[in-house]
């Protein structure tokens, strides 16, 4: 009862922070997906390049998110921009890796047949490779997005706003209710987004 009252009293702030959170994550993910898919496709041309890039994204993910955001402060200052950059960097691994394994995992006979039949490299990419790598790509996008929504909370630490604000304030004020509201909403957004993306995936897979 007390909890509902608390929620009702602050619903405007909560809504505003939720929207802020969604916007940050959405912008970051659009950039991240475009970048990750492009990089994932490009590194298929060279094994060495692929190894370097995949290791790099791997390392990026091992940096604690809090540290990554802090490291960006001297370069980009505080606010939404470094938060978005941080999220993009952080979510590259699942995207790049899944696009790469999705494409390189295609049975070589299929690619050879396509080449032998006279499809250009471009056509092979768009008509064969990408559609066949789509399930893996989509799985990467889902993982990355869910990660992005979660890590987005930490972006509040560098002044980006979002639901993380509630969590951090809750912690410093030892207010369980605030922490709980922030956490539950973030989980809820993650689950709903994942489900929506799963639906998109199914629709395109026919």
């Amino acid at each position: 009862m007390e909890f509902i009252g608390f929620f009702a009293a602050r619903w405007e702030t909560i809504l505003q922070l939720t929207i802020e959170h969604l916007v940050i994550v959405l912008v970051a993910m659009v950039i991240s997906i475009v970048l990750g898919v492009t990089v994932g496709i490009l590194i298929c041309w060279s094994r060495t390049l692929a190894r370097i890039v995949l290791n790099l994204t791997n390392v990026m993910m091992t940096i604690p998110s809090l540290a990554l955001f802090s490291l960006l402060i001297p370069v980009l200052g505080i606010g939404k921009a470094p938060a978005i950059v941080g999220l993009v960097a952080y979510t590259q691994l699942p995207l790049v890796r899944n696009v790469y394994t999705g494409i390189t995992g295609i049975n070589p006979a299929i690619i050879e047949a396509a080449q032998g039949m006279g499809l250009t490299e471009r056509k092979i990419l768009f008509k064969i490779k990408l559609p066949l790598a789509f399930p893996a790509m989509m799985a990467g996008i889902r993982t990355a997005t869910v990660m992005g929504i979660g890590i987005g909370a930490i972006a509040a630490y560098i002044g980006a706003g979002g639901l993380g604000v509630f969590i951090f304030q809750g912690i410093s004020r030892t207010n369980d209710k605030m922490v709980l509201i922030g956490a539950v909403l973030i989980s809820l957004i993650s689950i709903l987004t994942d489900r929506a993306l799963a639906r998109v995936q199914r629709k395109f897979e026919r």
């Binding site: 047949a113 080449q115 032998g116 064969i128 066949l132």
Partner: protein, 371 residues
């Protein structure tokens, strides 16, 4: 049609040529088999035709044009390509797979659709049932049929086939081979067919090029290769029992002699006269000019004086025209008769193969002069 001139290919970091000074002229409308053990350069040779592999030296001409001068994509769009694993695109339907090259060539939707139906019927798949199926819903044999249909889609004059039936079980493989030969009779493509299976080469090939370590050790018709293997390697590849294998290459339509008809209403004397005139020892019974599955022969005619009735014998079984001499011999051994009847596709009995004819024909081939 396809002319290799001193073509060599050496892969990077290899000490020897994968293909070594190959000169080979593949004629229009023939199935040319490239056969040899793995690593003999047969697949490399084939892939140089559609520029999947570039030769290190030498030239390849198609219809008198050096393929170096032809745009790679254009070249490939005009050559059918089938590989062992078929390489059907798993995310596309059967129809979309077949449409791949026509779409690239910019055909109209209606033309492509009509062509898909035509091709599916050619490979004996009902278009209504199969157009919308995905490759994963097909059996191995059906996939291969779709593969053939896809390769034929834009009616290319040349087809490259790399062990197309290699992954199939023996029964399906034999069936696909037979069907493909039947299709080839209609379409008369120039086909380069790679296999490691000499039996397949003998069965499918108009001519066979035997390759060993990048060199062509023999080129000839299956019969020539069986009769005169060029060296111990080829002999070993054939694996002995040549005469028996030749019997797979001689067919009943060439082996049989035609048999005359005698009308049911005629009498024994007339039948005996007909036998004497035709030179054969049997006659097929007919009613109003339609052949029946009964016969009389000179022996059975001794059982009757006038009416044919007592001399009539039923024809228990007959082989098709395309049955081989080996089938014929096997059938004779089974029935214990020294002859058998041959029928056409509509089950009309056309002729007889005698054991003596079979013997004579096979030993003629065995002793034929080198062609």
């Amino acid at each position: 049609m396809i002319r290799f001139e001193s073509v060599s290919k050496r892969y990077p970091n290899e000490a020897t040529d994968a293909v070594d000074q190959l000169s080979l002229h593949i004629r229009a409308g023939e199935i040319c088999m490239l056969v040899g053990p793995s690593g003999c350069g047969k697949t490399t040779t084939m892939k140089m035709v559609n520029k999947l592999i570039e030769p290190t030296s030498g030239t390849i001409h198609i219809d008198g044009r050096n393929i170096d001068a032809v745009d790679t994509i254009k070249l490939r769009l005009n050559i059918g390509y089938i590989i062992q694993e078929i390489g059907l695109f798993p995310h596309m339907t059967v129809a979309e797979n077949i449409a791949t090259v026509p779409v690239e060539l910019g055909w109209s939707k209606a033309r492509i659709s009509a062509r898909i139906d035509e091709l599916l019927e050619l490979v004996d798949l009902d278009p209504r049932l199969y157009r919308q199926k995905k490759p994963r819903e097909l059996s191995g044999g059906q996939k291969q049929r779709v593969g053939v249909a896809r390769a034929l889609a834009a009616d290319p004059r040349i087809m490259l086939m790399d062990e197309p039936f290699g992954a199939l079980d023996p029964i399906t493989r034999a069936k696909m081979q037979d069907e493909f030969l039947k299709i080839q009779e209609k379409i008369r493509k120039t086909i380069v067919f790679v296999t490691h299976d000499i039996e397949e080469a003998m069965k499918m090939g108009d001519r066979i090029a035997v390759l060993k370590a990048g060199r062509m050790v023999q080129l000839g018709t299956p019969m020539e290769i069986l009769a005169h293997p060029a060296d111990p390697f080829v002999s070993e590849l054939i694996g002995g029992r040549q005469a028996l294998k030749m019997m797979n290459l001689i067919f009943c339509d060439r082996l049989m002699h035609e048999v005359a008809m005698v009308d049911r209403t005629q009498n024994a004397d007339a039948a005996r006269r007909l036998i004497a005139e035709s030179g054969a020892s049997r006659l097929i019974l007919a009613t109003n000019g339609v052949r029946e599955r009964f016969y009389v022969d000179s022996q059975s005619l001794t059982q009757t004086q006038d009416d044919l009735g007592a001399a009539i014998r039923p024809i228990a079984g007959a082989l098709r025209m395309r049955a081989s001499a080996q089938d014929a011999l096997s059938e004779m051994l089974r029935t214990g008769e020294r002859f058998l009847f041959v029928e056409d596709d509509s089950h009309q009995v056309k002729g007889v193969v005698d054991l003596e004819d079979l013997f004579k024909r096979v030993s003629e081939c065995e002793h034929a002069d080198q062609a």
